[in-house]
Amino acid sequence: MIARLIEGVPRRALILLGVLLLGLIMAPLVASDYLLTVLILILYFAYTGQAWNIMMGFAGQLSLGHALYVGLGAYTAATLYVHFGIGPWIGLLVAVPVAALAGAFVGFLAFRFRVAGVYFAILTIAVAEFARVGFDHLNWTSGSSGLFLPVAQYTHNDLWNLRGHPAMFYYILLAATVLAFIGCRALLKSRIGYFWLAIREDEEAARSAGIDTFHYKMAAVVISAAMTSFAGVIYAFFYNNLFPEQVFHIVRSIEIILGPIVGGIGTLFGPILGAFVLTGLAETLTAALAAAGVDLPGTKQVFYGICLLLVIMALPDGIWPWLCKRIGLAEREK
């Protein structure tokens, strides 16, 4: 099975991937606390970016409301923990279906009623906004005043309850990112992957070739939503507080899509590269400004906006395809 997954990949790419992975595994041993937090953020976006990429890059459906699934995952797991003392890994078993259902709802609304392209994007924004305002008024989850997880001073890592040193979260997210990468690769090379690409390229032509496009588009949305909700669970237990205003905000949705777009929509490594480049540069910028005594909220976002603008103008396929050609790693990436 591994042989099938790596068929067609140049040796150099595999070696580089291996080196990168090794570096990432060793990183917490040498990184400062601040750097570790940055790396956690990078992996968070690398993971969610890959989940989003399944919907957009593979199946061609532009979602600008992915914060919905993060929020649902976060709130479900957090609420179960705060109100019933249920650990996050069990909470995950509830959070994932909740998010998947939300995805199915959005997908059904859109695909049954032929809402496509930019209209679909607007629909996803509307649903996420609806959730944001809705959760603001939901007393059971403490509404707009925020849901707080009990934080005790940890002396050891409690993997079961996700209480512990940031390094624990780091390795969980690293494992998730790696598994997502392998999973996406497997999906792309499988029957469903081919059908997704066909739908992305030309939905009508795909139907004439016998593909049930409704079914496969729904699958993309549901899988993407389910994957994203895991990140939500981690988010909740890492930050220990949830505010609808922040978690469901459209800014969160846009942050998720920046990595894949800058890195390369539809490619496997694009979202990961994008997360490293964007978040890495943004944090460097913030740190540099802080060192110069400048502390302006919003500078990081302006930076993101400019990056997005530059990529769209100059490298619309993203950095990764361009980089691939430069360093001779071009595989038959679709």
Partner: protein, 290 residues
């Protein structure tokens, strides 16, 4: 509650809705002709609002007096934006254009955050707390002036498109891009002109809105979404539809704010959007099926 409170709130909603309608009109014009989904629409409006606030703060100039100059500034901004940046993207896939404007929106919002800070700012004119009394009805002066101004600007726009040569040329571009090229219209210039007009519309709407509402950087995205709800509800490509949609949403918002909690009123707007997208995607007055 006594009936006249409902009526007062409703009228306030309609007047505010006219301003919303003008804002949406700008979006409708841009989309109807240039076919670009302007995700930075609300952000362009907040640019106008901040200009009005700054001018008022520095020179005590009434926003309504500054309507034309500010609209002109936004016109120039829109023209340059289309001519310099967006025109190159006409042939690119739809989602690329969309994301271009998303990037622009992000930049605008956060530059405003850096320049003006997150706190709400407003304009307190001499008539900010005045109201007119017509029988049992009480109408806020600011809303009355804003609503009236919106009607005037909208009428001017309709006249432009219907009766002037340039307006007709623009309508031709919208109808048939290739045809327009074939008869020798400078489509790129007309597109830029249209974007400028749409921007001027939204700039004018912003000037009116700053009398009614406080401005913060986060208002931009909120109004972008609202503009989309209105345009889609009223009907893409329909100018009367945009105004009608605006009034409808303004009214719904006001009544929802009265009957339920004010902070939940945007939920109604979004619920309407979802319903329209599902059951009547061409909107109330739209011609083309979405």
């Amino acid at each position: 509650m006594p009936a006249d409170i409902y009526l007062n709130v409703a009228i306030g909603g309609v007047l505010t809705g006219l301003v919303y309608g003008l804002m949406a009109l700008g979006l409708s014009v841009i989309f109807g002709v240039v076919r670009v989904v302007n995700f930075a629409h609300g952000e362009m409006m907040t640019i106008a609002m901040y200009i009005a606030v700054t001018l008022f703060g520095a020179f005590h100039l009434d926003p309504l007096l500054m309507l034309v100059p500010i609209a002109a500034v936004l016109f120039a901004f829109g023209y340059v934006l289309q001519a310099g940046l967006i025109n190159a993207f006409i042939t690119r896939p739809e989602h690329t254009q969309f994301l271009l404007l998303v990037a622009l929106a992000i930049i605008i919002v956060n530059v405003q955050l850096i320049l003006f800070g997150p706190d709400a700012q407003n304009v307190q004119t001499s008539y900010s707390y005045d109201s007119f009394q017509i029988g049992a009805l009480i109408v806020d002066a600011t809303k009355a002036y804003a609503g009236a101004a919106a009607i005037v600007v909208a009428a001017a726009l309709f006249t432009f498109f219907k009766y002037t040569r340039v307006g007709t040329a623009i309508r031709a571009c919208a109808d048939n891009y290739t045809g327009a090229l074939v008869v020798g219209l400078d489509v790129r210039h007309l597109y830029a002109l249209t974007f400028g007009l749409g921007a001027a519309c939204v700039g004018a709407a912003g000037v009116m809105l700053v009398l009614i509402v406080d401005v913060t950087p986060s208002l931009g995205p909120a109004y972008t979404l609202l503009a989309f709800v209105i345009v889609i509800t009223g009907g893409l490509g329909s100018m009367p539809g945009a105004l009608l949609g605006g009034v409808l949403i303004g009214l719904t918002e006001a009544m929802a704010g009265l009957l339920f909690t004010p902070s939940a009123k945007s939920m109604f707007a979004f619920a309407i959007l979802v319903l329209v997208l599902l059951f009547r995607p061409q909107g109330i007055m739209g011609k083309r099926a979405a």
